[in-house]
């Protein structure tokens, strides 16, 4: 029997099930316990697991990330929540200079099984300092894995995989999607890290996206369908390692690729995909690979500037038509 639950609940189920299964898993972060989470992801978890395993921290991202990284090296499996990934920048030193490099520096002796999670990217009119999408930052780092989810089913299955994974995993969510509902099975399941998901089959063009931009990708595909254009839509789900084989297989069929990416354009996830697909699939391409990214600027506050800066359905539809040489 499948159930319809929110992404918020799916994440909570994933964490709670793993905490029941393994006493070494614990959750730590700002407002995760008594306040039940700034976005209510951890609602009720303090009641179930108690203050030893659901821990409120002071506002000290560098410090509590370090405690997590140390604990992970010494036998525990921390889940560290950042209220948003914007604040995780303070902890980047621990993630990049310690967690990601432990195994290499220690010649394989010391691993660091830890999950860092929280909402990522823009969430309306929150201004420049609360709106950055960080997938490409972390995807650049060898030694860690980066997941960015778009629906409840993936949220739960990948959360469980992330907690069981023996390497540091960055898990990116979105404030705007916590209430989104989706079907989740009653029985236990795990989604392997590093596998993209073909959300919609199509013939004419491949649209690749992830996280909340999946709504734009699927919305554009629906619009295009009305005009007789059949788009295949792929949800990356994991950014690192990147499942480029699934994209390539799709491009072999459609011969066209459009990427919808909330990153800033320079050195973004779309840059990497474009490189990989032109290298591995040059002979299959009938048009240049194109992308829509966030504007090459911090996100401003005014509603019209937010709308102008971010990818949306009309921009995506237009771009698809361009790669199909239907426009001018």
């Amino acid at each position: 029997m499948a159930r319809i639950i929110t992404i918020r609940e799916a994440l909570r189920e994933g964490m709670s099930e793993e905490m029941r299964r393994d006493p070494n898993v614990f959750l730590m972060g700002e407002e995760v316990a008594e306040y039940n989470g700034a976005y209510k992801v951890s609602q009720g978890m303090l009641d179930e697991f108690g203050p030893k395993r659901v821990i409120d921290t002071p506002i000290a991202e560098l410090g509590f990330a370090a405690i997590g990284v140390g604990a992970a090296q010494n036998g525990l499996r921390p889940i560290v929540e950042f209220m948003t990934w914007n604040f995780a920048v303070l902890a980047l030193d621990q993630i990049l200079n310690t967690a990601s490099k432990m195994l290499a520096m220690s010649g394989g002796q010391v691993s660091c099984p830890i999950v860092f999670r929280g909402p990522n990217g823009s969430a309306g009119q929150l201004g420049a300092q609360h709106s950055t999408a960080f997938e490409s930052y972390y995807a650049n780092i060898p030694g860690i894995k980066v997941i960015s989810i778009s629906n409840a089913y993936d949220a739960k299955g990948l959360m469980k995989a992330a907690i069981r994974d023996n390497d540091p995993v960055m898990f990116m969510e979105s404030e705007l999607m916590y209430g989104d509902k989706g079907e989740v099975p009653e029985e236990e399941y795990i989604i392997p890290i590093g596998k993209a998901d073909v959300k919609k089959q199509g013939r004419d063009v491949t649209i690749v996206s992830y996280n909340k931009m999946m709504k734009v990708a699927l919305g554009a595909a629906a619009e295009l369908e009305k005009e007789g254009i059949s788009a295949e839509v792929i949800d990356l789900r994991t950014i690192r390692p990147l499942d480029w084989m699934t994209i390539l297989e799709s491009v072999k069929k459609t011969n066209r690729l459009v990427i919808v990416d909330e990153q800033w354009p320079m050195c973004s996830v779309s840059s990497e995909i474009a490189y990989r697909i032109q290298k591995e699939g040059f002979d299959y391409l009938d048009a240049p690979i194109r992308r829509i990214t966030a504007a090459d600027a911090p996100l401003h506050y005014a509603p019209n500037l937010v709308a102008a800066a971010l990818p949306d359905v009309p921009k995506t539809v237009n771009l698809v038509k361009e790669v199909m040489y239907m426009k001018k």
Partner: protein
């Protein structure tokens, strides 16, 4: 009288803006009200001069207004209009007014502690006797940057005043739950920095403490930490259900309301008549109403503003695909 008018302006501005947010949806994003903490802005203003740079966190409306950023441009900023104090680019958390040495509202908790020291460094370097004031919350006091900055500010005798606005909560977390050290002013001890703990509901007390610190800093004596015990009447932001505190606790603090307190002092000592107070109230309420009219009638920013104000260089090659 100045204190009363300024505090009343901040209070009325916040209440009006909150209404526009909640009732009409004209303001969006995070919105953190200064209601209850007005005495701090008032006391700091009379103890400093306009050239002294201020920098604060996202709870920035009160200090911006105090510094002299106009209510019109503040309200327009909340609306996201081109006439706002940051051209509609900053929003509630990022008010700015460089002409009045207001270096803004900042969104990353604790970062401004360091920025304030940098502002002070520049004043000292340039040879002025200006003093910087950095405001931060009790929650921000737990960030590591505080220690790095206190150490350098004290070592280099920077003309910096650090003001911890202790309203007892960081979102839903009380001060008691964040540290073994409840008296935040004691954090200065490790660096032998002078520190004070002050009633932040009293503009007089704030003024006196800040004036002492300013004098020391202007004379080359270096930084001071001032802990201001205050209270926010509203939730952390508009969306906060406030389950972590009781209504009684909020009421108790409202009994010590700084605006009421100053008003009583004025009337009891006959510094002003009720008529004069009524005239001030009317002037303030008119100003706030005018700020709303101004914001509503102002234009949205042009869409090409997306790629403006990003770098100073005029012909920067943005990636536009």
């Amino acid at each position: 009288m100045y204190w009363y008018e300024l505090m009343y302006l901040i209070r009325q501005f916040e209440l009006m803006a909150e209404e526009k947010y909640k009732m009409e949806g004209k303001i969006r994003g995070f919105f953190h009200a200064y209601v209850g903490q007005e005495a701090i802005a008032a006391g700091c203003m009379t103890a400093t001069r306009i050239e002294d740079p201020f920098v604060t966190g996202y709870r920035d409306h009160g200090l911006a207004l105090a510094k002299g950023v106009s209510p019109e441009s503040c309200m327009a900023e909340l609306y996201g209009k081109a006439t706002g104090c940051a051209k509609g680019k900053g929003g509630s958390m990022h008010f700015f007014g460089k002409d009045v040495a207001f270096f803004g509202g900042h969104g990353i908790v604790g970062a401004q502690i360091g920025t304030g020291a940098g502002l002070a460094f520049a004043e000292k370097y340039k040879g002025t006797d200006n003093v910087s004031l950095s405001f931060f919350g009790d929650g921000a006091a737990r960030q590591g940057i505080l220690h790095e900055i206190f150490n350098m500010a004290m070592t280099w005798k920077l003309p910096a005043i650090f003001l911890c606005e202790n309203n007892n909560y960081a979102m839903g977390t009380s001060v008691a739950r964040t540290s073994n050290v409840q008296d935040i002013y004691k954090l200065a001890d490790a660096y032998e920095m002078p520190a004070d703990s002050i009633d932040g509901m009293s503009p007089e007390a704030v003024h006196d403490a800040v004036a002492r610190a300013v004098k020391r800093a202007r004379e080359g004596g270096g930084p001071t930490l001032i802990e201001l015990k205050t209270y926010r009447y509203k939730g952390h932001s508009i969306s906060d259900p406030q389950k972590y505190r009781t209504k009684d606790e909020v009421e108790e603090y409202k009994q010590r309301d700084p605006i009421e307190h100053v008003l009583n002092t004025i009337l009891e000592n006959k510094f002003a008549t009720q008529e004069e107070i009524d005239a001030i109230n009317k002037r303030v309420n008119d100003k706030v109403a005018e700020s709303v009219r101004f914001a509503e009638e102002s234009p949205w920013p042009n869409e090409d503003e997306v790629l403006k104000d990003i770098v100073m260089e005029p012909n920067y090659p943005f990636i536009v695909d």
